[in-house]
C-alpha cells in the first residue's frame, strides 16, 4: 500500500465518520415530522407523535380509545367484537395502519421520510 493509497482509505473513513451525524440528524428530523392520522365518525384528526396523549374517537359501535405513547400509536380499547385493532398492537413507522372495521375507525401513520416498501438486490 502506497502513501497515496493510505490517503484514499483515510479520506473514505473520514467521509464515513462525517456522514454519521448528518445521517442521524436527518433521520431525527424525519421522524419528528411523523403524524398519526386517525379517522372515525367524528372526522379526521392529525396527531403529532411527539407528545403522549389519549384520544376518544366516535365509531359505529361506540367509542374507540387511541393512545399515543413513546412515538408509537395503538388502539387501547374498542367496543368491537374481535378486538383485532387492539391486538394489532403498536405502530410507529410511516405507512403502517390499524383498522377497526366494525367501528369504521382507522389509524395511519403519515410521515415525510417514508421507509422503503421493499429492498431489491
Amino acid at each position: 500500500m502506497t502513501r497515496g493509497d493510505r490517503i484514499v482509505v483515510l479520506l473514505v473513513v473520514v467521509l464515513a465518520v462525517a456522514a454519521w451525524p448528518i445521517a442521524g440528524l436527518a433521520s431525527g428530523r424525519a421522524s419528528g415530522a411523523a403524524i398519526a392520522v386517525v379517522s372515525g365518525l367524528g372526522g379526521t384528526y392529525r396527531i403529532p407523535l411527539d407528545a403522549d396523549r389519549r384520544l376518544a374517537v366516535r365509531g359505529l359501535e361506540g367509542t374507540v380509545t387511541v393512545e399515543v405513547s413513546g412515538r408509537s400509536v395503538r388502539v387501547l380499547e374498542s367496543p368491537c367484537r374481535d378486538h383485532l385493532c387492539v391486538q394489532r398492537g403498536e405502530i410507529d413507522a410511516a405507512g403502517e395502519v390499524i383498522v377497526c372495521a366494525p367501528n369504521g375507525v382507522t389509524v395511519r401513520i403519515a410521515g415525510r421520510a417514508d421507509a422503503p416498501d421493499a429492498v431489491i438486490r
Partner: protein
C-alpha cells in the same frame, strides 16, 4: 467498429473482451451468492476486479468499456435490465469509473487506492440514485455504514488486483498506453 491497426490494438481488444467476460462472470457469481452482510445491497464488488485490471493493463477508456458492458451483460443475464437495480448499477459503475480514472492520474496512488476510492464512489452513487428514485433521503441514511464497508471491500479487491497483475501473463508495456 474500426479495424484493428496493429498487433497492440488486437491485443488490447482481446484483453478488453476477456476482462468483460471475466467481470460479467464474477458479477453473476456474486449476485447468486447468498448475501452474507446484514446491510441490504452490500457486496464485495468482485466485478470491479475486471475494471481495475482493465484500467491498469489497457487504459482508462478500456476500463469504462469493461465497466459499462459488464453491467449490461449482468443485467441481461439476471433479468434486471431497465429496472431500478440496473439504473443504480449503471450509475455506480460510471461514477466509480470517474473516481478511479482520476485516482489513476495520481502517481502516488496504486491499484489498491483506485479500488477503495472506486468502491466508495460506487456505493454513494447507488444511494444517491436510489434516493432520487424513491423521492426521499432515506436511502442516503445508510451512507455511513456502506462507506465504512466500502473500505474493506475495496481493499480486498485492490490487493487481489495487485496479486493478479503480478502473476498474470498480461504485460502492460505491450499496449504502449496505460
Amino acid at each position: 467498429m474500426r479495424p484493428t491497426r496493429s498487433y497492440a490494438d488486437a491485443r488490447a481488444l482481446t484483453t478488453v473482451a476477456l476482462l468483460v467476460a471475466v467481470g460479467a462472470v464474477l458479477g453473476l457469481v456474486e449476485s447468486s451468492l447468498i448475501p452474507s452482510l446484514p446491510v441490504p445491497g452490500v457486496r464485495l464488488g468482485l466485478g470491479n476486479l475486471a475494471v481495475v485490471l482493465a484500467m491498469s493493463l489497457v487504459g482508462r477508456t478500456a476500463a469504462l468499456r469493461v465497466s459499462s458492458l459488464r453491467v449490461v451483460i449482468v443485467a441481461l443475464a439476471t433479468g434486471a435490465l431497465g429496472g431500478p437495480g440496473f439504473v443504480m448499477a449503471l450509475a455506480g459503475a460510471l461514477v466509480s469509473w470517474m473516481v478511479m480514472s482520476l485516482l489513476s492520474r495520481l502517481r502516488s496512488v496504486s491499484v489498491i487506492g483506485w479500488s477503495v476510492g472506486g468502491a466508495a464512489a460506487h456505493v454513494m452513487a447507488q444511494l444517491a440514485v436510489a434516493s432520487l428514485m424513491a423521492g426521499s433521503a432515506a436511502p442516503l441514511l445508510l451512507s455511513p455504514i456502506t462507506l465504512a464497508l466500502a473500505v474493506p471491500c475495496g481493499l480486498v479487491i485492490g490487493y487481489s488486483s495487485r496479486l493478479l497483475l503480478s502473476r498474470l501473463p498480461l504485460v502492460r508495456s505491450e499496449f504502449g498506453t496505460r
